[in-house]
């Protein structure tokens, strides 16, 4: 019986240790929560993938993020989207309005917005341009890009922890979020779409402290 008790205790401890590791000390229960925590602890370098888009002159993503210094709030979209991207679009419109208000008030925050398409095969620069116009995007503040190469696009999604699932009705479901990048092209924080004010304040703070 003693042996059983000792073994049971050991097994329970192993279970506790596994759960502790899995949930980062019982802080997160989902992979998305873990991703956000891990990014906050260890920023993720944006991979060197080639990008293009309307008015995008930078050859690759890190160069695009480093343009003008400052910080970038990015999201992933596809232009055929009828669901969550629409709410992301309006979130970005509100962010753009806040940044424009900053500039009008005479203290422009060096923060840019970037929408990256994960449907590179369909979202050619011309499609992105039409989409940007539909959202009344200000080209100086809010840029649109895609990764033309399918393998590089996959690598980018994997590196940044973006998971795209076809929903069987011709659309995609994805873990939509606001990704904040610093001027060195590192993803430093991931915010929920409902946390746009937090994301904006964090990006402003990053841009102010940028070298």
């Amino acid at each position: 019986m003693l042996r059983t008790a000792v073994l049971s205790l050991l097994l329970a401890l192993c279970g506790w240790a596994a759960a502790n590791w899995l949930t980062h000390g019982f802080q997160v229960w989902t992979d998305e929560g873990a991703r956000r925590l891990e990014v906050a602890l260890h920023p993720v370098d944006a991979p060197r993938v080639a990008v293009d888009g309307p008015g995008v002159a930078a050859p690759d993503l890190p160069a695009l993020l480093a343009q003008d210094g400052g910080a970038t709030i990015a999201d992933f979209i596809y232009t055929r989207c009828q669901t969550v991207c629409l709410s992301l679009g309006s979130t970005f419109q509100q962010l753009q309005a806040a940044l424009q208000a900053d500039a009008e008030a005479g203290h422009p925050a060096n923060v840019r917005l970037l929408s990256i398409s994960f449907d590179g095969a369909h979202d050619h620069p011309a499609v992105l341009l039409a989409y940007a116009r539909g959202l009344h995007a200000d080209p100086a503040l809010w840029r649109f890009a895609r990764v033309p190469d399918a393998a590089q696009q996959q690598a980018l999604l994997r590196r940044l922890g973006v998971v795209v699932v076809p929903n069987g009705r011709g659309d995609y479901e994805h873990n939509a979020a606001l990704l904040v990048f610093d001027a060195r092209g590192r993803m430093v924080r991931v915010f929920d779409i409902t946390e746009q004010q937090l994301a904006l304040d964090y990006a402003r703070h990053l841009a102010r402290n940028a070298p």
Binding site: T4, A5, S8, L11, G15, A19, L22, W29, T30
Partner: protein
Amino acid sequence: MTPWPRCTPRTQAALGLALCALLAWPALRQALEASMWRHMVLQFPLLMGVGALLAAALPPRAHTVVSRWNAHGIAGLVLVAGVLAVLMVPRVLDLALREPAIEISKCAALLGAGAALRLSWRAAGLVVQGFFLGNVLPMTAVVGQLYIDTPLRLCNAYLLDDQARLGQWLVGLAALLALGWLARVGWWTVRREGDAIAVKNA
């Protein structure tokens, strides 16, 4: 708990190996893991079934050693409850799809849990069985209800309606298993009372 009492241990182990190979076959694995409810409600119990079948191949000497460390099946059932509790963390499903090491650990844990369940169930007796089920089944039902109710996708790789369906399965399975066990206990009690009366009348 023996699935087919007339099957020799060797047949059972062979069956377990065959099922194991089938489940490891990439096409079937992908088909099972493509949906959240199939991942948890089909693949998990099937892997536990493989573990239970393979446990038949243990030589009698191993049984003696195991039972020395597993009085009343307690250690085994602690293992099963622990494995099931950890595997109900939604992050496991996403990680298992992404990280081969986690996928292998998950399968190994389920095989082990299946074997432990088989080696412990009879020895446990009604009290320990009831305690075990009284912990595991409510946990399953609560997790299932959470999956039904939450408006958030808990796994990046799965859709919301898939998650709700998994929740319904978990609640339903927990209720069914509880009823099944109670029915068995009832039947067993009635039979024992019948035997006692027969002995008295004889």
